[in-house]
Every structure is written in C-alpha cells, then in structure tokens.
C-alpha cells in the first residue's frame, strides 16, 4: 500500500514535470531569444528509472525465468550488496548533481556565447564531469562484479533468457511455466539473431564496436539491471520464502522516496536538469563548431519546420514495416535537404563529431595561424623517448601503452609484442637522427607509430553503411532534434543582432 502510494506520487510528479516541460516548450519556444536558455531545462525531462516499472519488470522476469528456491536464496546476498551499491550511488549522485547543475548552467551559458570558457568554469565543469563519470564507472564495476556472480548461479538457458528479456515484449509472452515455450522462444530468437548477424554487415560492425567499447565504458547487463535491482528483492524473497532484509527495505525506500537531504522528487528534477544541460552543451558545441551562417540556419530551420508535420504524421502511423519504411524515406529526404545546406567543411566536422561536454581541441581551440606549438601526443612521446636510456625507454613504452588502452581500448594479445617492437624500433630510429632531422621528421615517425584506432574505423564503417542503406545518420542524430533546432534559432537571433557584446 505504502509502495503504491509513493509510486503514485512519483508518477504524478513525473507527469507534472513532463506537463510543465511541454507547456514551457509550447509557450516559450516562439519567443525564445539569445540568453533565454532557462526554457531548455525541464523541457525534456526523460523518464527516470521508475521503481514501479522496475518492480513489474522484475516480477515478469522472475515469473518466466523458472528460478529454483535454491537459486533464489543464493541470489539474495547479491541483491543485498546491490542494494548497498544503489543506496550509496543515490547519495553520491544526488550530492554531485547539486554541484553539476550550477556548473553546467554556467558552462552552457558561456558555450552559448561562443567566446570560449573562463578557466574556472571550464576546470570546474571538467572536474565535476570527471567525478560523475568515475562515480558511474564505480557503480558499474561494483554491479558488474555482482552480476558475474549472479550469472554463475543461472543455467545457460536462463542466462540467454535474461539477456533476451524485454519487459514490454514479454508481456505477451507465453505462460509462466511453459518451459517448452520459453525454449522455443529462445531457439527462435537465437536463430533470428544468427541469421541477422550473418547477413548484416552493419549489425556485425555494431556488435564489434560494442565489444571493443565495453572495457572502456563498463555497462551493466540485464542480469544486473533487472535481476539484481533492489526492486527485484521482494519477488525474489517471496520465491526464496524469506523476508526482505533491512538493507533491501532501505534501498527500496531510498529509491522510492529519496533521503531526507535529497528527496526523490528533487533528485529526479536535478537528474532531468543535468540531462537537459548535457544535451544543451553538446548542441552548443556542435553549433559553435559548424559556424553556420544566418542564411544556413534559416534554411535548416525552414526545412525542418516544413517537414515536421509530415514526419509527425508518419510517426503516428505506428511501427509496422510500411510505416517504418515510409518514415525512413522521409527522414532520409530531410537529411539530404539539410546536407545540401552544409558546405564540405561543415559536413566533415559533422561526420567526425562526437557528442561531448568539453569540446575537443579541434573545435574548442584549433591550431591557430602563426602558432608554433602544435605537436601531437606521439610527437611529444618520441621527443622525450629518444633522450631516455634503454631501461627508461621500456617504462615510457609501458606508460604509452597504458594510456592507449585507456583511450582506444586494449590491444589484442597477439599484437602487443608487435606494437612494442615497432615502438622500440621507431625510438631507435629517432635516436639515430640529428636534432634537426628529427624535428623535421617527427611527424612522419609519429604517423608510423600511430595506433590503429579500431573504434574509429568501426564508427566510420558504421556511418558509411548507415548512409548507404538510407538509415538516419549524424544529421538526424544531432541536427534534426527539436532541442538542436531551437538552439539553432537562438544562434540565428544572436547572429542577426550582430556581434555579441564583448565588454565594449
């Protein structure tokens, strides 16, 4: 009863938030002006993880999964630990969000002016963003460790089932204990997946990319997200025939009501704000990097406005094959229209753009005319390494390899020795050169040891395949988004008003 009460309150608050966001959007958009950036916040409050939905999903999963009582009992200590992780994460995230919101707001405001960032604002934002990333990674790592243990407790069939499980889809799934149906479902799903993988280069590339990125961005799987979520504690305890522990109840309370210092409604609001600010900053970074002219902005917004009703109509037709095909065709047409507005340089920037909070150097601070120092990381590495003793060279190589692993993922074991040899040889070559020859050739030497960036290659491949098949590309992902278009209108207004005030 109590749970229902809180859940209903949360839903009501969420609904109100959405409604107020939508109203803000309707009322403020036409009059949005440069500097009026507050309309953004709260206008797109995506649904935060909802306890009720989590509980329902856990119920469904457990009812289909056919866990034995023994398995359920073995899982309970893991849920207990997961509850601790969730409680701690709630507290730390809530505290962090209180700092993130003002920092991101300042950052977004400066970003919107396209005049660079003051060092303190940039530093604070980068630090907090890093903290948030670390907190997220820490939570993921802890949950992944628990997930591994939980997965060990499941049978192979159950593992596959959990991985394939989708709450919405499963609602029309076969009856609870129809093992045969479950097996058939699994077999069919596996065969379907296999067929798709065989015929689909795109799927294969996407899968390879996921595999590569997994160690860099640890993400919790379905076992961790569904089976080990504190919302699964109740049904699992029922199955095990025991009462939920104090910690499990505590987690349930925290995730439904929050803590006295950080009530859930405020926490959700802050989460939504941070999400909106991230989107806003990402958009400003791209807008700043594209340098669209007023005419270009007008053309893009005109194209968007003209096709939006038709797109909405197509979207409302549902997700049937015909509707999806028509929608894809319309989106492609829209993309093509926008692509024609961009010049070649802008298309290149867009193709290489990666959503980011702190803009990459090439967008934020490109090498300037007449600027001397612009050597790459590898050039600096070679400059340093050629002066080191052989013993210290190996240490420098280890350091470089560790950095590379952090940034572009681990190297396959078979290639590690080869790369080490190449680095040693290149350093030797660099040592043999005179200082002047090295200064002239360091770019070529650095290019020789530049590590193959498989992630980048796969992304390029995916982008090409996506484009070839008429699937939505970066123009849809970044530009043809309502928030982006609205920010673009603001930039248009800024440009129309002439040079931004620069303290004169």
């Amino acid at each position: 009863m109590r749970r229902l009460h809180w859940s209903a309150t949360a839903r009501l608050l969420g609904g109100l938030l959405c409604l107020s966001g939508a109203m803000a959007l309707v009322v403020l958009l036409p009059t949005a002006r440069a500097g009026d950036r507050d309309w953004m916040v709260g206008s797109t409050p995506k649904a935060v993880s909802d306890w009720q939905e989590q509980a329902q999903a856990a119920d469904e999963l457990l009812s289909c999964l056919g866990l034995t009582r023994q398995q359920a009992r073995a899982l309970l200590p893991l849920i207990e630990q997961s509850a601790v992780v969730h409680i701690e994460d709630y507290q730390s995230t809530a505290e962090l969000h209180d700092e993130l919101v003002p920092a991101f707001t300042d950052f977004a405001r400066q970003d919107s002016l396209n005049e660079g960032f003051t060092p303190d604002v940039e530093r604070r934002t980068a630090q907090l963003n890093h903290q948030a990333k670390l907190a997220q990674e820490e939570k993921a790592r802890r949950l992944l460790a628990l997930e591994d243990q939980a997965t060990e407790l499941l049978t192979p069939t159950q593992r596959v089932f959990v991985e394939e499980f989708h709450p919405n889809r499963q609602r029309s799934a076969p009856p609870v204990d129809a093992r045969g149906a479950v097996r058939r479902h699994l077999q069919a799903a596996a065969a379907q997946a296999q067929r798709e993988a065989q015929r689909d280069e795109l799927t294969e590339a996407q899968r390879a990319l996921r595999e590569l990125e997994r160690p860099m961005n640890p993400t919790v799987g379905r076992v961790g997200n569904l089976l080990l979520h504190p919302a699964a504690a109740d049904p699992l305890c029922r199955l095990a025939g025991v009462e939920p522990t104090h910690t499990m109840r505590g987690a349930a309370q925290v995730l439904q009501q929050g803590t006295p210092a950080h009530p859930i409604d405020r926490h959700r609001e802050q989460q939504a704000r941070v999400r909106c600010l991230r989107t806003e900053i990402n958009n400003w970074n791209l807008i700043n990097g594209l340098h669209l002219s007023v005419e270009q902005i007008d053309r893009v917004t005109r194209v968007y406005d003209a096709t939006r009703p038709a797109l909405a109509e197509l979207k409302s037709r549902g997700r049937g094959p015909d509707a999806r095909r028509d929608l894809a065709a319309a989106v492609l047409e829209l993309e093509t229209a926008v692509e024609q507005v961009l010049n070649r340089g802008q298309r290149e920037v867009l193709a290489e753009y990666k959503a980011c909070l702190i803009p990459p150097k090439n967008l934020k601070d490109p090498v300037r005319v007449g600027q001397a120092n612009d050597s790459s990381q590898l050039e600096r590495f070679l400059t340093r390494a050629r002066r080191l003793t052989p013993q210290r060279t190996d240490a420098a190589i280890d350091e470089l390899l560790a950095k590379e692993t952090e940034h572009v993922g681990p190297l396959p074991a078979s290639e590690q020795q080869e790369r080490r040899t190449l680095l040693r040889k290149t350093i030797e070559d660099a040592r043999r050169l005179s200082d002047v020859d090295f200064a002239i050739q360091k770019g070529e030497l650095a290019a020789r040891i530049a590590r193959r960036d498989r992630v980048r290659e796969l992304k390029t491949e995916i982008a090409a395949l996506t484009h070839d098949r008429g699937l939505p590309g970066p123009i849809s992902r970044f530009i043809l988004q309502p928030e982006f278009i609205e920010q673009l209108r603001i930039r248009g207004e800024q440009l129309r008003r002439g040079p931004l005030a620069a303290g004169r």
């Binding site: 396209n114 070649r344 802008q346 007449g370 600027q371 001397a372 040079p499």
Partner: protein
C-alpha cells in the same frame, strides 16, 4: 634593455650540472666544463649585424628597426636578439633557431601562394614587438640564448630543406626581423638552389634591411596589427607609421607576393571604422588583389581577460573590407567557415576550399577559375 652577463638561470644551470658531474664522475668534472656545457652555445654571437652605427664611447645604435636602440657594451636591444659586445653589434640567435618544424603554408597564413605546400619553418628567439596577446611568447619574448636551440647554419638549413624535399623555407612564429641576418643568409643560399622563401612578419622595420631580405624572398605575410597608432603603442609596443611605410616599400619595390593579416582583438581594434580604414588603406596603397585576413583572437599571454573574437565581428570585418573594394578577404582561426575559401571574383565559384589548414579541394586551372577562366591573383605553382 637588459644587461648581458651570467644570468641567474645560466648560473643555476651551471651549478647544477657541475654538482651532478662532480657526484657522478668524481674529480673529472670542473666548473669550467660545467659552464661550457650549461651556457647555451648561442651566448657567443657569431655574426655582426649589418645595420648599426658605432660610437666612440663604445655604444652602438641599431639600425634595423625604428626602435633604434642605443646599446652600451653588454646591452641587449628591445628585440632581445642583438647585443653590443665590445662596441660591435652582434646577432644573438644566429645559427641557433629555437623552432625547426614542417608546416602547411596556410599556417602563416598565406592563401594565394602554392596552396597545400609544406614548408620548413625556422625561427629564432626574440621579437621587436611586445604584443600583449603574443601567442608564441615562450620564444618571441625571450632572448635567443636563453632558449633550447638547434645548431643550424644557413647552409645546413637549406641542405635540410632539400634533403626532406621541402621547396619552401618559412620564417615565422617569432619575428624574422629579430633574426634578420640569419634569415637573409638562409634566403641567399636558398635562392641558389631554387627554394622559395616566405616570411611572416609584423614589418616594424626600416625599409633598407627589409629590402635586403625581400630581395631573396618570394612571399610575405604581414601582420598589420591595427590601424590606430595608440593601439600599436599600447598593445604592441610599436608604432603604426613605420609599419605602413615598410608594407608600401615591399609592395612598390619588390615583386614578392603579399598578404595582410589583421588579428581582431575584442575591445581593442574591433571597431568597424578602424577595420574600414585599414581595408581602404590596403585597397588604395596595395591594390584590390592583395588578400586580407581577419584572424580570430584567442586570449593568451597577458590578454587573458578578454573573450575570443565573436565570429560575427570577423564576418562584419570581412564585409567591410569587401565594401572597401578588396576582392579576397578571409577569416582565420575559425573553421569551417565560408570565408576561409578562395572564390572567383567574377562568377563567385569556390576555387580553393579549405578546412583549417587543410585544402579540401583546389579547382584552379593554371591559376584561373575553372568556370569563367578569370585569372585569380597569386602564385599557384
């Protein structure tokens, strides 16, 4: 002007080296050895300055730039690169560049001279200006003998360019006027081998020394900091008139290709009246075909409290310059931007498309527009 002698850095360096050597090698290390290694090789000037006047009291008057420094024995000029030693004026950084690297020519920036070509860039420490926003202040605002440098004679510099198949040598980043003697000697050698010379300078220099360099040079990218003498004095530590004279001299008395760069600093030189005056002067004195670049300011060195130049300001500057009659006006330090491309003045076709320093496409046909065949001014091959 600073007094020459064993400065604090050199002393500490020598001391550190001596102590280390003494510890490592016992009695073999001597203070003399330590000093010989730790003192940069450039501390012994190797070439006399061509333009100076010596006085009976042992002082010299430098004749390279309008600062006209009068230096007593041991004193260094405002450019930090020339010293009076025993009544003779010497170039400090001669043969010891602090920067040797390979760059695209667009980095000068020069847009109408061999687009996409790579050049061997050579620079020595020092500069006769003291711009508050200097972006190479680590080299330009230091004495050449206090920097980590290369040993590179003019002959070796040209040999290095040839060895690496670079047929352009560029002097930029710091001020070539501060190492004029070295630049000139390299240029002389380069000319014999067919290597082109391009110079990025602020042109705060007397016409004669400039012409000596220009005789062997092929292109100049001249930074005209602003069009207000107050700005020149307050922000750059120089004066406007000598710069204008030098630019006019180059235009009138040499056949060097010329491009003008103006860094637009918010609140200092971004008034459109000044921009208009500058553009009109370029049009009147140098002609409508001389490219003019408006570069975006980025807060650096001592002007870190200002924002970057707003893109619309640069666009307005371009518009003003075009109104003044200039045909080729560019923005720098922003990309991608339409004003970084070269257009045919007749049919407005994009003839060279750029993204930063990268040439995306070069559609020129023998220096002409591929559509209307109108010649585009520049040195294209």
């Amino acid at each position: 002007m600073s007094h020459e002698g064993l400065n604090r850095r050199a002393f500490l360096s020598a001391l550190g080296y001596g102590v280390t050597r003494a510890c490592l090698l016992g009695k073999r290390a001597t203070w003399a050895q330590a000093a010989a290694v730790a003192t940069p090789a450039t501390s012994k000037p190797t070439r006399r300055v061509d333009h100076f006047e010596a006085f009976p009291d042992g002082s010299v008057a430098c004749g390279v730039c309008p600062h006209a420094c009068v230096l007593h024995d041991g004193e260094v000029g405002r450019c930090r690169a020339r010293i009076n030693r025993g009544g003779v004026h010497y170039a400090l950084g001669y043969g010891n560049p602090c920067i040797v690297q390979v760059d695209p020519i667009e980095k000068l920036p020069i847009n109408h001279f061999r687009p996409g070509a790579r050049m061997l860039t050579i620079s020595c420490g020092g500069c006769n200006l003291g711009c508050l926003y200097c972006q190479n202040w680590q080299q330009a605002q230091e004495r050449p003998d206090q920097l980590k440098t290369f040993e590179l004679s003019p002959r070796e510099a040209v040999a290095a360019a040839r060895k690496h198949k670079l047929d352009i040598i560029g002097f930029t980043y710091t001020e070539p006027i501060a190492f004029l003697e070295y630049a000139r000697d390299i240029a002389v050698q380069a000319k014999e081998t067919g290597i082109k010379i391009v110079v990025g300078t602020s042109a705060f220099v007397h016409p004669e020394p400039l012409l000596e360099l220009a005789r062997y040079a092929d292109a100049f990218a001249i930074t005209l900091k602003g069009f207000d003498d107050g700005f020149y004095q307050e922000v750059c530590g120089a004066r406007l008139d000598p710069v204008l004279t030098a630019i006019k001299t180059l235009h009138e008395r040499t056949r060097c290709w010329l491009e003008i760069i103006n860094l637009v600093v918010p609140t200092y030189n971004d008034r459109m009246e000044d921009v208009s005056a500058l553009a009109r002067w370029v049009h009147a004195e140098l002609g409508k075909d001389v490219p003019l670049h408006f570069a975006r300011f980025v807060p650096l060195y001592k002007l870190t409290d200002l924002p970057r130049t707003a893109v619309p300001t640069l666009e307005s500057a371009c518009a003003v310059a075009r109104e003044a009659g200039l045909r080729h006006v560019y923005t720098s330090n922003i990309a991608p931007h339409r004003d970084t491309n070269t257009y045919c003045d007749g049919c407005k076709t994009v003839v060279v498309e750029r993204l930063g320093f990268k040439i995306l496409s070069n559609n020129l046909r023998h220096g002409r527009c591929p559509i209307c065949r109108r010649p585009i001014p520049g040195v294209w091959a």
